[in-house]
Amino acid sequence: MSTKTPLKLIAVAAVTLSAGSAMAFEPSKSVEFIAPANPGGGWDTLVRTVSRVLQEEELAEQNFAPINTPGGGGAVAWAEVAKDEGNDHMLFATSPPIILVPLTGSSRYDHSDFTPVARLSTDYITLLVDADSDYEDIDDLMEAIRENPGLSIGGGSAPGSMDHIAVAGLAGEAGIEPGSINYVAFSGGGEAMTNLMGGHIEAVVSGASEAVGLIQEEEGELRALGVSSTERLGGELANVPTFEEQGLDYTFDIWRGVMGPPGMSDEAVAYYESLFEEMLETDGWADARDRLGWIDAYQGSEEFGEFLDAQADEFSDILRELGMVE
């Protein structure tokens, strides 16, 4: 699975070669910026937002061309990028599925096959119940699950993917066997929410930014029992306590970042790193970020790489407890 060694070798080679010349990298043609999904989803939004901000703020000479390569929850795009070793003019949007999809066996390539470039932003998960429900806080819900493990919790993605992992991890922290959670997979967050509103399921796990409109103080149909951040979020979510506040030592990040093909040159990585760091400081980005409910969470290439490895360990532990990996 892992091609870490060759990657390192190439990196070392690149460093040795470029030592002395210290040539700075600049894209010489437009950069292919791949969203490994159809238009409209999270990756697509990231790719289009970033390339638009880069263009509007005139940060890069070359165009960052958004390209959609859908299929297999990302696997089709990853297979293509993995073949393009050493291409300094290709990037792709990434988030937890780059770790989860390979772990559950649908992709031959995993995060260690690619070059981490930068983490840009993050979102958090929240647990929603109907506004009329008896569950007032996360303890109420966890207590109810403890009594009745058949209690159905919906999410917008398949078992073993982000929503499931998030709620399973939370349950584990509350002392409930993660595998006993009755996670019901819907074909999208919206479908899960309508089922919650209709009383067909007890709770829904969702990205916090997606839930904003549904939990407004008086008109809201739903109630959020907590968010997976370390500090309270802003705006409509300011009144929602974190899980940590409620005594569960649990956080979960829906991070979003950018990666490149295997063996991307150090110069190129350095160029993109600083480009994105600069971009995060612009007003154009701040505006888009706030509208989309993202929170800045920049990490450079090296730090992002270590973070990804740590995430992979954490996720595979949860998946093992769920019995979804050997």
């Binding site: 409209g40 297999g72 297979a79 479908e191 309508t194 399921i201």
Partner: protein, 499 residues
Amino acid sequence: MESLNNLIYGFGIALSPMNILYVFTGVFAGTIIGMLPGLGPISALALMIPITFAMDPSSGLILMAGVYYGAIFGGSTSSILLNAPGVAGTVATSFDGYPMAKKGQAGKALAIAAYSSFVGGTLSVVGLMLVAPLLSKVAVSFGPAEYFSLMVLGLTAVVSLSDKSLIKGLIAAVVGIMVSIIGIDRQTGTERFTFGSAHLLDGVDFLVMALGIFALAEVFYMLLRGGGGKEQPRNAIGSLKLTRGEVKEIAGPMTRGSILGFFTGVLPGAGATIGSFLGYSMEKRLAKDGDTFGQGNIKGVAAPESANNAACTGSFVPLLTLGVPGSGTTAVLLGALLVMGVTPGPAMLQDRPDVFWGVIASMYIGNIFLLVLNLPLIPLIAKILDMPRALLLSMILIFCMIGVYGLNFSVIDLYLLLAFGLLGLAMRLFGFPAAPMILGMILGGVMEESMRRALQIAGGDWSVFVDKPISLWLLVIAALSVFLPLIKKAIKGLRLRHA
């Protein structure tokens, strides 16, 4: 009275010069997008998000909604002229639309489609305006158990879609359901029938099968029958005019189709498809000349076309009143609205009445634009059929290939298209109907997922399907619609034997 005031307020917004321009641009672009199979409204809307970013939210939504219902409005064109349905909601339109075109009545078929779309679009906006907040309760009352039963009801259309042999129709439907199984299973994450290919992980796209077994199979069939001169020249597109009798004849199907379409559209999920198929088979059963459905009956065009446009408007109910998307297209609209700083949902009526009422008013205007725009275009577009046959067939072939390649930019989809084309040809030669197969494929996936979800929630208890009243009723109606015609037939047969 209050709705009327609100509507006048909405028209005040929608009738501003800029917004009129946006409605017009939206529906015009939508019509074109709808006419080309493969270029669905979803991708078109997603590509428009950056354009609408800086716009006033009501203008942005007016523009994007125009593209959406414009695409559904124009979607019937390729179904009728080329037997190549571009979106699932227009499959049923091809059943009688294409035979009409073959009979030299392309003009009339397209005109009926346009009128029905207009009626469906307009009646459903009235519905959206009057009962949207009430209907949001209906939208959420459908859980997995209810969806399963609704899909079962949808599948009963197989009975009316199997021309001669019910057995062959059922076989085709089962093959369709089998194809819907291909890909990653949502409930367990297991790969099914993917043969290790990453390209099959997301399953077979509807368009690949629809263009294969309808359009491509038709091309092959025409080639096989060969003979340059044997067929009569089809250059007569016929008159667009409807006689008074014909107007009377389609008034009922259009109204029933609109109502049915609107209500199924409100349900998140496969609204337009279910609505158009149910509308089609309902009219076939109601009609005295039900036998001529499938051979170019005008009612067979009017019913599904009014239903799919009404369903499109209906899908705005959960989006605007609950803030949850009922389909892929409305999910993109939701994303666009969030980016523009508007949060659809219960609070939207208070916070942003300009967006809510502006869009509703713009839909009335948009539907009139569409009618005025489409009617004069019909003779021009129908000229396609004047082309020499060799050219026409090659064009359909290229059209299908571009449409399918545009889905995922994958060559594998093209092989699949060819395979389905050959399968469709074989089915035709051996008398298997294609319609039940596509129906099985469209409904099979949702049916299976809903069944397993319902069972998972109920802890494996099968009685959930009859314990829930809505689900029970749907199953009862499904059973009636299957067995009543059979019983009727049996009685008739007995009488004939006695006579």
